[in-house]
Symmetry: C4
Subunit: 204 residues, 4 copies
């Protein structure tokens, strides 16, 4: 099975998820600038979720770049990831509308946690199906960032019982950690290409 | 006519269908976790419909993989399928908001039935246009799963007059039946490729 | 400029237009089947508009199939078409919600008219840019169907002042006229290919 | 990294942005034509924003046409641009619903300003990553139009404190300036191709 339609479908779903979140920013009925003030928590949640969905798209892009075909299992692991991503607009709206109170902030962390777990399942599925693809296996590697994220989501969701804004700060910190670009796969790809080229040079 | 734009357009429509369903999950105004409780029927319908739309995308992907070009008739058979799929968000919302009462649950079954019928028409259209494509014809074959589904949708819609949750259980069972991946086409493709390779090996 | 992104973007916009129309089918709050009755005019408009947008996608697909590259002018003529198509959900909703009264039915006809005009401008733009592409020029030809449609939209909009349902009937008749597939371009393509093949056969 | 998925994802997001704006055109409950009158400011904002998003898609298309691969930095610069574009439906709705009063009109100008800045950052990022791509560097050049636009957005936002409709006029004027197609890159591409061909002709 080619990976092209999987990429196209995932791009479509992720593009819609990232865009419908802005519908939660309800147009105020007053033309006054002060009418925007009550919207700032919704706006803050929107920014954070936009960055998160962007990170997932980015990493998804990189990971699938390293494979050539996908199995039925991968299709379903991918749909499972898209399912949890599709809940981000809901928890974003809930968190924003309730000014980062405990319940919604913890729920937001829970959905981030499930997304991370789904992404990790997808990554493992891909590794299983591409046992010989040393590049992919090595590149995903021990997935240290992914494991740290899962712990931090739990910490954030826990802290939001104590003070909800702390949960938000932790989630934002995880996003910043991911924004430092994940060069692992990129480097592996470059390395691999260089090795291949070196091998080709020797072959005359 | 190339099949690429047909796939791209179908992917777009299916991606939107699968994503706008989440808009039925209305953000609660209270930050309390208990505010999520009334949402569980909507959430359950969302999960079921997400799985169904995922199954259709998956099977659509597999079926079109086996063909190379499409006729005008196929374009319209495909739009007919997309039309019935586009009604899934409506019946999902109706079923979820009314806690699986008789009317909405039977209507949900009816739309699933029409989707299955439209899919079957599309499959037959493709077979007619690719008479020589033994792979496709054999792969779609007697379409046993499709026929069983149609019967079960009728059973489910009927049972929902007696007890609506029974209808939901039947629809969920059909989805599980489809989740067991439809390896028919995949296997045929692999077989075909192997035979071709064998034939090529003999040719020199 | 390649035509691929133009096709991809148009597919995206058309896919969204065709799908968001279903959001006008508001989920009834009652589980009773009779709650669906007041929705039938909305549903009828949805079906008609779905078919219309499907026809535009179909014809757009065929027309662009005959060209290889697009100019800046074509990009804008295409956006102009997409603009008028994007108003279809609005007039569909208005017509459906008001049970085919005069105003909305005439407005629906007006938007169909503008879509037809925009499509015709796009077709002419493509012909200008592909003067040597005899296939395209001949294939679009005198565009008899397009001209008849424009006249019938005017007739339909006019009749809706007398009896609005008559307008709807006329619009539906135009759609049926288009559903009889537009084999002109398809035939030209096939002819062209055959001529080329014949020419190639002679060449050795 | 290939640029194809970046283009596909951007096309998806831009297609959704351009289409969901029409949802702000709320269907009137009365079938009277006069019920459309109060919608004209919303409609005017919709037209202007449709043209703006179209211009961005168009220029984005042209700029990416001149490059072959994209880095991680470009992916993020592109997401940054999409973020500001995604706010256009919000300010469009706000400006339209409030009949071009000062606050919303100034906010509209601010979002246009941020889009222009984000586009400029993306362009610069691409130039940095393609130092040897003289075509791209030269083509983007001094970006005179971009700089004039930023000044005019500031002027428009400023004027809207004095008379809000003046702000709208200035924004519309900037759009018209951009509608005069940006032939710079197109010309460069053609020139480059001609030079390459000339070079190839000499190479025997």
């Amino acid at each position: 099975m080619g990976k092209n339609r999987l990429e196209a479908f995932s791009d479509g779903v992720i593009a819609i998820i990232i865009t419908i979140m802005v519908l939660e920013l309800k147009v105020p009925h007053s033309p006054d600038f002060r009418a925007l003030l009550p919207l700032w928590p919704v706006f803050m949640s929107y920014v954070l979720s936009f960055v998160y969905v962007g990170i997932y798209w980015n990493n998804h892009h990189h990971m699938l770049h390293a494979v050539k075909e996908v199995s039925g299992g991968v299709l379903w692991a991918n749909l499972h990831l898209l399912f949890w991503l599709s809940l981000i607009p809901f928890v974003t709206g809930w968190m924003g509308e309730n000014h980062f109170e405990t319940g919604p902030t913890a729920a937001y962390g829970f959905v981030l946690l499930m997304c991370a777990a789904a992404y990790s399942i997808l990554a493992r599925r891909l590794v299983v199906n591409h046992e010989k693809n040393a590049m992919l296996a090595e590149a995903i590697g021990d997935d240290r960032k992914g494991k740290i994220s899962i712990v931090l989501y739990l910490v954030g969701a826990g802290l939001s019982w104590w003070a909800a804004w702390l949960g938000f700060v932790v989630y934002a910190a995880v996003a910043v950690m991911w924004l430092i670009p994940d060069r692992r796969i990129e480097e592996k790809v470059i390395e691999e290409i260089e090795q291949e080229e070196a091998a080709n040079d020797k072959q005359p």
